[in-house]
């Protein structure tokens, strides 16, 4: 077959794909008899209300000298690891605000970090296209350098996001600018599976976020600059279980809902969305009108432990707290006293759901918790 014939076949296939996607969209619309907010209103739900001192900034973690790009909590004990443009990882005791480790990285351009389930190791990745693992029990030298205990190399593009598989200190998943996600065996340093890529069905642009299902660690979701989110089964790397369309811009952040059957996304189109993994339905759009101005991009999201609250940070400094059920903004952390002075780039909830940590371009991290009384009348 000649190149010209192949090009014709390519055009025809593209038309067929577009037509099928259109038909799918129409069929799905027929099944969208309600959204979450519509259902909640029909049940008489009222929005969550916050008093002025209900959610307060109770700690400010100072120490980075550059923008904070990523943070992660330990599954137990209240420690946080953060990664910054200053080329350092810092491990914090969130209760006391003390730093327990300050690790100078071999490559300063770090974009993501994660704590291992046992809290003994941290992983980070960035523009060096590698994921580096550090054992926190190893001493740093006088310059703050800590030896890398394992280097995971194989990506052909930057590492944008990483997360350890829950309850498995030896496996983690990375997302990359090379359009793939990879499941790694840390013990051997080898790739167990590659999701997507040149010859497999997967994302068609940079993958910038990943979230593993806490209820079923074989499932994970990825978000990409191709405007889609994809659900993957780690046992089947050849294709995504499902592709979720809807966003009109890069999907910068994905996070599983606490029940493990839904996940949220945040995008450059200014919206957050909630999808159901079993049916593929888009259950809710969280969109704040901005008039004629371009909608600010969503940089990071997190759900509260019950799922009732969706925390979403934006590139204009806002950090909205959405009532997930009623799709209303109930608070803006960005406007509260003692809030950040710059864009909030990352969010994370503590394992027990009692505190939210935000990381910002103002170089600080802040911890937010419930500061009011729970009144039982």
């Amino acid at each position: 077959m000649s190149v010209a014939e192949l090009k014709e076949r390519h055009m025809a296939a593209t038309e067929t794909v577009n037509s099928l996607r259109d038909r799918l969209r129409q069929q799905r619309l027929l099944l969208l008899d309600t959204d979450v907010a519509g259902y909640a209103r029909s049940q008489g739900k009222t929005p969550v209300t916050f008093g002025p001192t209900d959610l307060v900034c109770c700690r400010t973690l100072q120490g980075h000298t550059g923008k904070v790009h990523s943070l992660d909590w330990t599954p137990e004990r209240n420690r946080i690891v953060s990664a910054s443009q200053d080329g350092r990882l810092i491990v914090w005791n969130a209760l006391t605000s003390q730093k327990t480790h300050a690790i100078k990285l071999p490559c300063a351009w770090v974009m993501t970090c994660a704590f291992s389930p046992n809290g003994q190791s941290v992983a980070c990745g960035g523009l060096d296209s590698m994921c580096s693992i550090f054992n926190l029990n190893t001493q740093t030298d006088n310059d703050g350098h800590m030896p890398v205990s394992r280097m995971l190399s194989g990506h052909k593009g930057y590492v944008s996001s990483c997360q350890y598989v829950p309850d498995e200190d030896t496996h983690l998943i990375t997302a990359s600018g090379d359009h793939t996600c990879v499941l790694w065996d840390i013990t051997t340093g080898l790739r167990t599976s590659v999701f997507g890529g040149e010859f497999q069905s997967g994302h068609t642009s940079d993958v910038v976020s990943v979230s593993i299902n806490g209820s079923n660690s074989r499932m994970f979701v990825s978000g990409s600059c191709d405007s889609t989110a994809r659900l993957w089964d780690t046992r089947v790397a050849s294709r995504a279980v499902r592709t979720f369309h809807g966003h009109q811009g890069d999907v910068n952040t994905v996070k599983f809902f606490p029940d493990g059957n839904r996940f949220g996304t945040g995008s450059d189109d200014g919206t957050c969305r909630l999808f159901d993994i079993r049916t593929g339905h888009q259950l809710q759009v969280y969109n704040q009108p901005h008039g004629d101005n371009e909608a600010p991009h969503v940089t990071s999201i997190a759900f509260s432990i019950s799922g009732r609250l969706l925390f979403a940070s934006y590139n204009n400094g806002d950090c909205y707290v959405w009532d997930t059920l009623l799709a209303q903004v109930v608070l803006d952390l960005g406007s509260l006293q003692n809030s950040h002075d710059g864009r909030i780039s990352c969010l994370g909830l503590s394992a027990d759901g009692s505190a939210l940590c935000t990381g910002s371009w103002d170089t600080n991290l802040k911890i937010w918790a419930f500061g009011g009384h729970r009144k039982v009348i």
Binding site: L95, G353, F370
Partner: protein, 204 residues
């Protein structure tokens, strides 16, 4: 000289015509196009499968209902609770606890413990309950290692209730810890003093 005509002027040569470079076979281009076509055809297969499966799908109202039920059945430490309904459910929970809860760790909670205290002494700190009790008015403090589980200051002991203590020193507050400074730049660095705990990057 050869080529010269009788009149002495040289024969005119044809004007040079630039030629296109010869076409070489671009084998990789063909392979790339083939790969793109194959991926698209695979995508067509996936989309057709999805279209078939969509016929049997439940409408969106079902997952919306599941989600709403999940959210309302789980307590959330970040959400203010101000309604009377809590009391009724708490009373019901306490009654249920009194009837059957003694050794069932999955429903053990401070609310249960307060009932158990009437029957036998029980230390809340040993409670293995991982799920917060829905109706419990005195959730166990999970965060302060300085105050007792029955925190007398505020019933909802949380991040903001207790002054966190320096891990090395049981009595001093963390912000002015004088006993746990390990400054790498000798004992003093330009941005911290002996009483500094947090501001110097290298102090930990």
């Amino acid at each position: 000289m050869t080529g010269l005509k009788g009149n002495g002027s040289p024969p005119s040569l044809p004007l040079p015509r630039p030629k296109s470079p010869p076409e070489y076979a671009d084998l990789y281009r063909k392979r790339r196009e083939m790969a793109k076509v194959q991926m698209l055809e695979r995508e067509i297969g996936f989309l057709e499968e999805e279209l078939k499966s969509i016929a049997g799908l439940q409408p969106a109202s079902r997952p919306c209902k599941e989600l709403a039920e999940f959210v309302t059945c789980n307590a959330d430490p970040l959400i203010p609770v101000r309604t009377k309904k809590i009391r009724r459910s708490c009373c019901l929970w306490k009654w249920l606890c009194g009837a059957s809860c003694f050794n069932v760790s999955s429903i053990c909670c401070c609310c249960c413990q307060s009932h158990l205290e009437r029957t036998r002494s029980h230390d809340c700190t040993t409670c293995s309950c991982s799920n917060p009790c829905k109706g419990c008015p005195t959730p166990k403090c999970n965060h302060c290692f300085c105050c007792s589980s029955r925190c007398s200051n505020k019933p909802t002991c949380s991040w903001t209730c207790c002054i966190p203590k320096c891990p090395s020193c049981l009595t001093c507050p963390s912000t002015r810890c004088v006993c746990n400074v390990k400054c790498l730049e000798g004992n003093m660095c330009s941005c911290c003093t002996k009483s500094c705990c947090n501001s110097c990057l290298f102090c930990y």
